[in-house]
């Protein structure tokens, strides 16, 4: 483990009708990190590394933990609409963004509504479209540890696997998983983790530089969904990492960081 000693701050900002919990760290140009649906509490290396080059903003989505739930948000499109209001109030302007899994779907929905919200967009194994081959892993029929394990091509060979999937989760971690699952379930129960209209709407991203990153062995959201994203977003890049599952940022941190740094440079 490297010790990069980034000073992270936690703050609560009252925006768009909710007390938004915001984690912030690093220095440089702002980078918005839209998190996945799992509710990890561990501090991971890719975040520390990104904070060397960027001021990283990690909001807790409403309903996913410290940020309270908003009753009217019933799907990812609602959440995307809320984010546009929240980002305007936060005053970040047009910002570089990375979206992971459900956070990638969210970022894509935001961009279809207002492509100018982002300068550049990196989508990492985003949910949100129906894979033409295979299915999105049913996270509600497995306990969190099994879901997270399914996100790795080689769990035991991944340095940080046990950081986010401890053999015995602490009560705090177990609860954070449950809370995130519950809200993910509200947003994505059916159709399961996709919005049928999204591939058609993605054409709006034609002027937004978009990079799609996928693990070739992703068994959580199959690579065929990545092809749909790639084909639907004119001018997009699809980067496929070998021997890698659904979490390239954790399983192939170096390659992931290389791609992201080069893309945002």
């Amino acid at each position: 483990m490297t010790s990069l000693s980034v000073a992270w701050t936690e703050e609560t900002r009252s925006v768009a009708g909710v007390d938004l919990h915001l984690r912030k760290g690093g220095s440089g140009e702002p980078l918005l990190l839209l998190n996945d649906e799992f509710g990890h509490l561990a501090s991971l290396r890719y975040q520390e590394e990104l904070a060397q080059n960027y001021t990283v903003y990690i909001p807790s989505h409403p309903g996913f933990g410290p940020t309270p739930r908003l009753d009217w948000i019933m799907n990812v499109r609602d959440l995307a609409g809320w984010y546009l209001m929240a980002l305007e109030e936060l005053g970040l302007g047009s910002v570089n963004a990375v979206g992971l899994s459900m956070g990638g779907w969210l970022a894509a929905e935001i961009a279809t509504m207002d492509p100018g919200q982002f300068k550049k967009l990196a989508l990492v194994g985003p949910m949100g479209v129906l894979p033409p081959e295979g299915f999105i892993f049913d996270m509600f029929l497995s306990v969190p540890a099994i879901c997270i394990t399914a996100c790795f091509h080689d769990p035991e060979g991944s340095a940080e696997f046990r950081e986010i999937c401890p053999e015995m989760a602490s009560p705090e971690q177990a609860q954070a998983w449950e809370i995130s699952r519950e809200e993910a379930c509200r947003l994505g129960w059916r159709p399961y983790m996709y919005y049928p209209g999204l591939p058609n709407l993605l054409a709006r991203l034609k002027d937004l530089p978009t990079m799609i990153v996928w693990g070739r062995e992703d068994e959580f959201v199959p690579l065929s969904a990545g092809q749909v994203y790639h084909n639907s977003i004119p001018g997009s890049r699809l980067e496929v990492l070998d021997n890698c599952g659904h979490m390239p940022h954790v399983e192939k941190t170096e390659e992931f960081l290389g791609l992201v740094r080069q893309f945002f440079a």
């Binding site: 509600f140 029929l141 497995s142 306990v143 519950e182 809200e183 993910a184 379930c185 129960w189 059916r190």
Partner: protein
Amino acid sequence: MFIGYFTERPYQDQRSGYFGATGKPIMDLTVSNEIYDAKLGAELYNRYLDEKMYAEEMGFDGLMLNEHHGTPFCMGGAMNVEASILARMTNRAKIVLLGNILPIWDDPLWLVEQLSMIDMISRGRLVSGWVRGTGRESVAHNSPPPYNWERFQEAHEFVVKAWTTPGPFRWEGKHFQYRHVNPWVRPYQEPHPPIWLPGVVSRDSLMWAAEKRIPYIMLATEMEPTKRAFQLYHDTAAEHGYESGPQNIGYLWKVHVDETEELAEATARKYVQGPSNPFLAGNEGTVNPALVNLPGLTSRTRVLPTQAVATAARGGTGGVAGVLGRPYEQQIEDYTIITGTPDTVIKRIRHVLEYIRPGSIFFWDGDGAMTHDDAMRSLRLMGQEVIPAVKEIAKELELPGPFEVDPATGKDLTREEAAAPTADD
């Protein structure tokens, strides 16, 4: 005292490999229906209907049905179909549905129509219970678990309104929307069929029932936590300004009567020898912990004493030893299975009635690996000896059922009926 008869209607296939105590345990939603034998299915559906009709003949007050989806332990995937048949084929007993799984209905107006038709055809014998359903029901019909409780409450309000308010009217709810509600069938009973709530799990549901003056039925739970849960009902009732009593609470448990003690024991052991059933202690099968704990299905913290118990045994997070996972012998000891000759059974039922003081009881029989003959012997002896004796005990213990004392008002319904012709009160 109201006495009902219940069986889960298992799909009993000796050749299936998972049948019997030594067979493969069933993990929920993992058994493919490719093994389904149509001839056997037809036999079993007709057998269970015949047994229900015989139960009426033998003096049961209620014929209880339930519903589960995608599982061999309960063939009642569309319970209202069975209820419809009983509506026409029987003529005295109440048809007690415990219950329709409200949150999984995307179109509750259709439920309004089906139940009204059952009430019509049976000339007012429907008791319409609601349940929230377990994880398997939410998954099988793809209903969002975190909205289970909201959908339950909204569907209940909608059904009651559709039963009681002349149409057409509009309904613009959070989960259900209609622009034209005007079903061309209304319930036979005024103002609508009684609504009961069975359960084991949720404190929210039990308190909701108490608040709405809806009778609550505990399903195959251990006696001590059951008593505690009912106390919570009675306390909640008091907080809402009325006095609840036996008429507000019911208890279902396993009772099998037979001709000799030996035959009774051999047959009652079959409770744990059929296809495994998560509700049949001793033969629960293998449990998928994610499925019994779907996100938001029940509140993470607001569970009943009975469920703190059950969760542990189902691989949940609790630490208490369980309602489930108990061997046959222990269930005999703690009265959750009662079996024997009529004399033996009557004595033990008395103990349960004294301890829990319910106004409704349901004998869960003919389940597991029990055959039609097993079920019919028990039904006959219940009719000849057990039901009359239990009715006497209930009178002595002052345990009125919900058709003797109104659960909502405490009014004596039998006196009123009797008094009406002479008008001397």
